[in-house]
Symmetry: C2
Subunit: 107 residues, 2 copies
DNA sequence: TTGACAGGCAACCAAAAGGTTGCATATTGT
DNA sequence: ACAATATGCAACCTTTTGGTTGCCTGTCAA
């Protein structure tokens, strides 16, 4: 879970996921074309991190490696982490508002 | 948005959010008690990062500073980022399965 | 008013992250 | 077979990150 959050912390990696979301099963070379300001090795490292976090699954087809998005860990973030805060979204806001008003009153 | 993902990348910071979720409006000192393996300044830095990312709002009350969880940015992650991948969760999995089977056939 | 308490600021440090270059390996098409 | 293609590996460098220590500021309470 920590690996997933860490993997999502980088904008380039989120971009790679977006790119795979738009067109799944791309090779390293194809993905590099979308990120012209980075060397192939840098992209490769990012993909390795995404793979490590289980956000990307790969298949070797001959000399190329196809990258597939695995949305399950992201889904789990939504389930286990966001849901919990979601539930208290409005509650927390109204509490915050109440606390702020309390502050005003105390001045 | 990038700041939110970066802020969520650290386990200690996620822990702080959990702690505020359990008991909102805590002071720096109170939050430090829950993280005995870290100095007050380290915790303070983490809280500053969370505040920068708008995940925590603070109110100064006398000499102490109360920290309130702001779940809105997390909710936005769910809306703008997870929703998109959520929609394709099963689809992507079945496509991955299909691709894997295709690989088998090509061997 | 003077300690004690809550927190802020700045310099510094080690480790991790992001990136590069250079070379090696495996596969494919001719 | 061989040149081109697709990727992997490793060393290295710079910046960011997470953390520390030391000191300063503001506030409360006796």
């Amino acid at each position: 879970m920590d690996a997933v959050f860490k993997a999502l912390a980088d904008a380039s990696r989120r971009d790679l996921l977006d790119r795979l979301h738009a067109d799944n099963g791309q090779t390293l070379g194809q993905l590099c074309e979308g990120l012209p300001d980075m060397t192939r090795q840098a992209v490769s490292k990012h993909l390795a991190i995404l793979e490590e976090a289980n956000l990307v699954a790969t298949i070797k087809r001959g000399r190329e490696k196809l990258h597939y998005l695995n949305p399950v860990p992201i889904h789990e973030i939504g389930e286990r982490w966001i849901g919990k805060f979601e539930r208290s979204r409005l509650t927390a806001l109204s509490e915050l508002k109440k606390a702020l008003e309390q502050e005003k009153r105390d001045e």
